[in-house]
């Protein structure tokens, strides 16, 4: 219950009130500990609790007494006995389940999921990891990276954990050797390169002796990276949340009287605001948020993980399992999806067997229609398999009997996860993470399918939110379209300068530049123009994924091509800007002398002369450059971005 040892205890009533309020206002980090048998997990947790004064005196007395019977150490007490809960486990000398521990320091409150190292308990590790932001991986300095270490790191990454604290433990048994530490770090990094991109932090410790656990170790002056506790207190995790894609799974309907019908739920991701236009899925009905009710009163907006009750403008038939979303940002609504599944039951997976799947607030009958492969947990190779046994992990196709709303787990941890329940025994037999197949589900056109069926999308380890937080912007593509000479490139350059000067990361994709390299094989006939725009759109989409604001400067004369660009880049990110300059003005400007050449017949298929320009019907912005200065055009675009919340003002 106590704060870290340095904090003096509050004495006056006012101090206690302040102390309590500070305690409640701190943020929370949930982390798990994983390691092989005898790597010293329980000892580490006992040490964290003991050194941060979290142990009650009567508990400590009981442990001292127990140390004589069960203890495995010759020191004064065995910290592991503080955390090994169940009697049977204690007698076997191993932990066999997930145990949750609580402690706090001045900086943060912590929940530890203590997960087991024994080979047969992969499922418990997955269970612990599912609610955690960070994993502490323990490696015995005497043994280095073992199969278990690989397995634990892999599971943590599969379950969406983005931060690993790799503790090389028992440094006291290798004479606190820097060389041993560095060798193991290299070994670990060599293996972890195969995992999805994860933030990794290495610390040499001795949990038993307390080196680098709470305080920096005097025995390892060569290590300047701070103690484990320091890392746990300072690693940023709040940016891991998805605040973009609003998802509100309806959990419960309240109807206290005829005039009030409220939909209770917890915001899974994104931000829900009073007055928002919303779509209710799967029905697709549109309506508007009238109020967001809480016990304390109405609120203007709700964000994850707030629990609120929503009332809507129209009497729509909504029940538990439906999802309220923004009309322009929808999850998948489908009956089929692919997923990575961790099998948790002694009865193996039955392909085509009948199960129940629970996803958000939905429980639906479902079938696992195929098992594509299983992971060899040690090599991480994909191997053919007929089934999954307990503690095995594989990729499956799932078919639900009703449509459900979901996102890819890599994008949304709350709406991308599910459990599999056995219909006969009611046991929870599997846990799944839905894979991203956005592009295969909505092909851009027939030529957009990858030529090879072996190509699979790999999710990044860095989330969209993290990138947005780093760059302090939301990515978007400003698609400048207009005649040659309309001023696209000039505006693009001015806009880029202006955005860059205010600290935004942005980049121009210019027609001429792209045609010098990536698109040098393309000409100006209709099909080459279409391909030109497709490639540019894909590049813009990639740069947006990387977090950049992209400015494109292409004539892009065909409506259909721009519609495809919008599709590829995404409706939320595509901003169509019509640089609307009359042909006469462009022809007078003629900066590259192209109109002259076209009129002279030296250039064929020149837009505006002998090729059509299809003006946008509903562009996000129109710039009448004939009557405007360049700076005004730029200002208009910037104002639009601020208005849409893509840039902070």
């Amino acid at each position: 219950m106590l704060d870290s040892p340095n904090t003096p205890l509050p004495t006056t009533e006012a101090e206690v009130i302040e102390y309590l309020q500070r305690h409640g206002a701190k943020d929370m980090l949930r982390f798990l500990t994983a390691g092989s048998v005898d790597d010293g997990k329980s000892t580490l947790i006992g040490r964290l609790l003991y050194d941060s004064k979290m142990i009650y005196e009567d508990q400590l007395a009981a442990v001292m007494e127990d140390s004589a019977v069960h203890g495995t150490t010759d020191t004064d007490f065995d910290p592991a006995l503080l955390t090994d809960g169940l009697k049977a486990e204690r007698e076997q000398g191993i932990t066999i389940d997930v145990a949750y521990r609580y402690f706090s320091t001045d900086k943060r409150n912590f929940i530890i999921a203590d997960t087991p190292g024994h080979e047969q308990y992969t499922r418990n590790m997955a269970t612990g990891a599912s609610t955690c932001d960070l994993a502490v991986i323990l490696v015995d300095a005497r043994h280095g990276v073992l199969e278990q270490t690989r397995r634990h790191s892999f599971i943590a990454s599969l379950l969406g954990i983005r931060h690993l604290a790799v503790c090389i433990n028992k440094m006291d048994l290798v004479d606190y050797s820097q060389e041993v530490f560095e060798r193991i770090c290299l070994e670990y990094q060599g293996f972890a390169a195969k995992l999805e991109d994860i933030d990794m932090h290495f610390i040499p410790i001795s949990a038993l002796r307390g080196d680098n656990v709470v305080d920096p170790s005097e025995n390892m002056p060569w290590f300047q990276g701070g103690s484990l506790l320091y890392y746990l207190e300072t690693v940023p995790v709040s940016t891991d949340r998805n605040l973009i894609d609003m998802r509100f799974p309806v959990q419960y309907v309240v109807r206290p009287d005829l005039n009030y019908r409220g939909y209770c739920g917890t915001v899974a991701s994104g931000i829900l605001r009073k007055g928002n236009e919303v779509t209710v899925l799967p029905s697709g009905r549109q309506t508007r948020v009238v109020s967001l009710t809480t016990f304390e009163g109405e609120v203007e907006e709700a964000f994850p993980p707030m629990a609120v009750t929503v009332t809507l403008e129209d009497e729509v038939d909504i029940s538990r399992g439906d999802m309220i979303v923004h009309p322009n940002n929808r999850p998948h609504v489908a009956q089929d999806f692919e997923a990575i599944v961790v099998w948790m039951n002694d009865d193996p997976l039955e392909v085509n067997g009948s199960y129940l799947v629970k996803s958000t607030t939905n429980m639906v009958p479902a079938t696992v229609t195929s098992l594509q492969y299983r992971f060899d947990i040690n090599s991480l190779h994909r191997v053919d398999s007929e089934t999954l046994h307990a503690n095995e992990i594989g990729r499956v196709c799932v078919s639900t009997h009703r449509q459900i709303c979901f996102d890819a787990y890599g994008r949304n941890r709350s709406t991308g996860c599910f459990i599999i329940v056995d219909r006969n025994t009611n046991a929870t037999v599997g846990a799944g993470m839905i894979l991203d197949r956005e592009k295969t589900a909505q092909p851009v056109d027939s030529t957009a399918e990858p030529k090879s069926t072996h190509i699979r999308r790999e999710a990044s380890g860095v989330s969209v939110n993290e990138r947005e937080a780093l760059l302090n912007q939301k990515p978007a593509t400003l698609w400048l379209t207009g005649l040659s000479g309309s001023g696209k490139s000039t505006i693009a350059r001015d806009l880029e300068r202006s955005l860059f000067d205010r600290g935004q990361a942005c980049f121009i994709l210019d027609g001429d530049n792209i045609r010098h390299g990536l698109n040098r094989d393309l000409g100006f006939n209709a099909s080459d123009r279409t391909e030109n725009i497709r490639r540019v759109s894909e590049v813009a989409a990639l740069l947006n994924h990387a977090g950049l604001i992209v400015i494109t400067s292409f004539i892009s004369p065909y409506r259909e091509d721009r519609a495809k660009a919008r599709e590829i880049i995404g409706h939320d990110r595509f901003v169509e800007v019509h640089v609307d300059t009359p042909l006469e003005v462009c022809e007078t400007r003629d900066p590259k002398g192209l109109y002259k050449k076209a009129r002279a017949g030296e250039i064929a298929q020149f837009t505006g002369i002998d090729a059509p320009y299809e003006a946008p019907e509903n562009p996000e912005l129109t710039l009448k450059t004939a009557d405007m200065k360049i700076a005004e055009s730029t200002a208009q675009i910037v104002a639009y971005l601020e208005e849409q919340g893509l840039l902070s003002s």
């Binding site: 706090s104 605040l243 809480t294 629990a307 629970k358």
Partner: protein
């Protein structure tokens, strides 16, 4: 975006939101849930969370108190007051077999009394009403074996808990499926610590039984515990004379089995300050746990809450 950084939720707000989610989830997916109301401070917090979960609608399930007939008088008075003020449906269950047998902790011993009046009483009540889910206010930080308890804890037809046969619990996807006769015990406060509970009581101004606050009370000293003379059923042993002391209780149960501590703490901040100083863990005041360190685990296997 700059303003994203402001969408932060404190530790206590997160705990509250998580508990409300769990309470709603159970109400939505079980046929007949009940909230076990022990009248203690954790129950008081759980009650407030249930009010919040369904506001502006009333709590859609009953609260049930398993009365061992040896609860403090002030607890019973508080129970009746809360039922009236909050307006929930209150069920009170007393094991009539135990009453017929004249069950009391003095002649039968604390273990036997607790088993019959509390553990068996609870099982009878659950069977009688056919509840398929029962909310309890237990927290994982209370005791070592509770650290491994699930939020949804599966119980077989005999209300037994098997530590080796619990369902894996991932994300917030709780498995509500049970066969007839089986049930789930649900612990919405699993992730709260004692400090969180007190902070919440203070912030939310949640009423609690006055016994938590220090006052002059008549007690006798017995086996190192201060036992309150709550009524004339407490047999005094030779040499025992009730004396008035300024005491309070850290936990509440049957009065002959619950030790008081000498204290001047008569407000929540004073209680917290005392707690921070003493570092004596919560259940120590309960006579029943003092036998051996794994005793709670054995009671849980039998169906003790």
């Amino acid at each position: 975006m700059c303003n994203m950084i402001t969408y932060n939720f404190s530790h206590l707000q997160q705990l509250e939101a998580e508990s409300i989610f769990i309470i709603r989830e159970v109400a939505a997916s079980f046929d007949k849930p009940v909230m076990l109301y022990s009248i203690g401070k954790d129950s008081s917090v759980m009650l407030r969370l249930a009010q919040k979960a369904f506001h502006p609608a009333p709590i859609p399930f009953p609260l049930m108190h398993v009365d061992t007939t040896f609860k403090f008088k002030e607890m019973i008075a508080f129970r009746e007051r809360m039922a009236k003020e909050v307006g929930f449906e209150l069920l009170v269950w007393i094991n009539q077999d135990g009453v017929t047998r004249g069950m009391n902790p003095f002649d039968f011993g604390s273990e036997e009394h607790t088993r019959v009046m509390k553990t068996d009483g609870l099982k009878q009540a659950l069977d009688h009403y056919g509840f398929d889910a029962a909310y309890g206010g237990a927290r994982r930080d209370e005791e070592k074996s509770r650290a491994k308890e699930r939020i949804y804890s599966f119980r077989d037809r005999f209300h037994q808990w098997d530590p080796k046969n619990q369902r894996p619990e991932l994300w917030n996807l709780y498995n509500n499926r049970v066969h007839k006769g089986e049930s789930i015990r649900v612990f919405p406060l699993s992730n709260w610590t004692e400090l969180d509970i007190w902070l919440y009581i203070m912030q939310e101004e949640i009423p609690i039984v006055p016994l938590y606050y220090a006052a002059e009370r008549e007690v006798v000293e017995r086996d190192g515990n201060l036992i309150m003379v709550d009524d004339d059923r407490l047999p005094l042993e030779p040499g025992e004379t009730p004396q008035r002391k300024r005491v309070r209780f850290r936990t509440l149960g049957c009065y002959p089995l619950t030790g008081a501590i000498e204290s001047d703490a008569d407000t929540v901040p004073k209680i917290v300050q005392e707690m921070l100083l003493t570092k004596t863990s919560e259940r120590q005041g309960r006579v029943i746990d003092a036998d051996k360190s794994a005793s709670m685990e054995e009671k849980k296997r039998e169906g003790y809450f």
